[in-house]
Symmetry: C2
């Protein structure tokens, strides 16, 4: 699997689009807002109220969350400016980055509305415009000019690996880490994360100005065990759907065994280890938070509460995982896989309080 070619959220604005099924991710963005505000305030004062701020949202995806982040960043800077009693707004450039298959066209088409809304929401009318551009490419490569970026933000992107880890054994009957994964598979996943995250830090260190800030929220875990339920359960339920279809002869067993999600959900220690190893950043804050699966529930469907929860989390996961499943298994089984997956999610949500863990790290580029 060429992750850079295959991995992207569902585009457009249809029923299974990421655009319409990313309320959970939106909730996470709003949860981390105080950390962003603090990082921006520190940046702004430490840099002595610069005339220009250049920011990047890495793994911006497509849909309302993309420009929500952009508008939160601009509004945050405007509030900080006012708080410090600075009359002149800085000009802000925001780079929206994601892999080339991300639906940038849909983002760009909503930009004039975004600019109008932003102007209306700003505390003052004196604020400068904000310039937005799209940057296609993997954040495991260089994306920007040297020493050009003041602030880097990323939410729910860095758990995606640059590739499926190279494994000696197959990860039989699993599609991600699980309690039944062999030790060498667990090792391969962990090492791939370490290598990818180190690469990410190295390139950002090159691109960021001294004193620049970076706030990253990564889908993660609290436990030391990378196979703990908190981070693996959501994929276990998809694996169960696929295994059932193998048992019924709808999917070949080999096909399932060769499918692995290119993701790793680190705990805080694993994140800070790599930051320390790379050496260009100091950590200002490292936090863990939780978000319930039903955070992506909306009230627009005429369904029972239980059904809504399963249905919404099912659609949320479909918007994220469909391109991966499609590229590996083909389109003939897609509907059936996600029907079963949604049912499994519904059953699990009715029996227990299911949640995702977020690791958020805020750091400063030193040197």
């Amino acid at each position: 699997m060429d992750v850079a070619q295959v991995l992207h959220m569902n585009g457009g604005d249809g029923d299974y689009s990421y655009s319409n099924n990313s309320l959970l991710q939106r909730k996470v963005i709003s949860m981390t807002k105080p950390i962003i505000d603090e990082a921006l305030a520190n940046l702004y004062s430490a840099m002595n109220f610069p005339k220009t701020l250049i920011m990047a949202d890495l793994g911006c995806s497509s849909g309302p969350n993309t420009l929500l982040v952009a508008s939160e960043l601009v509004k945050s800077v405007d509030k900080i400016r006012q708080k410090f009693g600075n009359d002149e707004s800085p000009e802000i450039q925001i780079y929206l980055n994601d892999l080339p298959h991300n639906d940038f066209n849909t983002i760009f088409l909503s930009m004039s509305k975004f600019q109008k809304n932003l102007t209306n929401q700003m505390v003052s009318n004196s604020s400068s415009p904000c310039y937005i551009s799209g940057v296609p490419g993997s954040f495991y490569t260089r994306l920007f000019l040297s020493k050009s970026i003041h602030f880097v933000y990323s939410s729910y992107s860095l758990m995606w690996l640059s590739r499926v880890p190279k494994m000696i054994n197959t990860n039989k009957n699993n599609i991600y880490l699980s309690t039944t994964s062999p030790p060498c598979v667990i090792k391969a996943y962990r090492e791939q994360f370490q290598s990818d995250f180190l690469t990410f830090l190295k390139y950002r260190a090159e691109e960021m100005v001294s004193g620049g800030r970076m706030v990253l929220t990564i889908l993660g875990r609290q436990s030391d065990d990378p196979c703990s339920k908190e981070c693996c359960y959501v994929w276990d339920l998809l694996a169960t759907s696929l295994k059932d279809m193998v048992a019924e002869g709808l999917i070949e067993e080999e096909k399932l065994d060769s499918f692995n999600i290119p993701q790793y959900t680190p705990n805080p220690k694993e994140v800070s280890n790599e930051v320390e190893k790379e050496g260009s950043f100091v950590i200002d804050c490292l936090e863990v938070s939780e978000v319930n699966w039903d955070a992506c529930t909306d009230n627009n469907l005429n369904l029972s509460k239980e059904d809504v929860q399963g249905y919404n989390m099912g659609k949320c996961m479909r918007a994220v995982a469909e391109p991966l499943v499609l590229s590996h298994f083909g389109d003939s089984i897609i509907e059936e896989v996600f029907k079963r997956y949604t049912d499994n999610i519904k059953i699990s949500m009715s029996g227990e309080k299911t949640k995702l863990v977020n690791v958020t790290v805020s750091m400063t580029r030193i040197g």
Copy 2:
């Protein structure tokens, strides 16, 4: 007509896509290459070999021409660097700008191939990478941070106006300027160009560094008369097709009378007048060139020479004009309009040497 919403080249890579029907525009790009090379060489030496060069291609469109321009810019800088005996390549940032309906997704998907090709074509292996981003928006607004851009390029874009000129009379039986256009219509078109081009220059002056260079190629004319055949004939032939369909009751007359192409093809004097009026730039070079309509002929079709010429120029014009025609007349008449238009082009090309006029201006940001 909201030009910013309607105007864009045909996207994708289908039979009528701009991507597959822009050989004429490609020819024009290659014709103006010496002017670009000179401007870049002057920029590079005047700025004392900067470590970073930030460039913008305004009205970049989508398809092979878009990244052709980008790669020509990078290769040109690399040659200049070598000529001056400078060991270190500057880092290059290229902003690709077009209106929000431009197909940026298709550009972004071809970027990894572009980067690979570029590396292979470079004179040296020591050259820095080139960073590309997409900037959606009208170039009649601010697009970039203040004083951030070193080089601005635009080819075959600035003849497009920000809107259809406000006219007191209708431009009856015409869709663009023509020998039968009333004087007030001609005045309205000219004034719209003057106002738009002045706005363009004003914003670029804000965005460019002192000493920055700008090379613009505009579809134009040599004559003092804005209704001269050299610039109006190509639209006259489309008007004829539409008029014939009005006569046959396929299109309502009022519908035709309210359709006007948001374009103006200036002569060199009109271009230099606005540059002088705005005052932030000095003109280094102002040239007129011509390109034959059959420049967009390719040899891949199994047709007679005459047919190929008409067919290709027809497809080239369709790739450019279809979104405008479609938004005004609806999709029921599209095939018929462009069939007739292609036939008209074929007849005219068989009877005379038909050509387009390009006005190219190279200037330096002063002050």
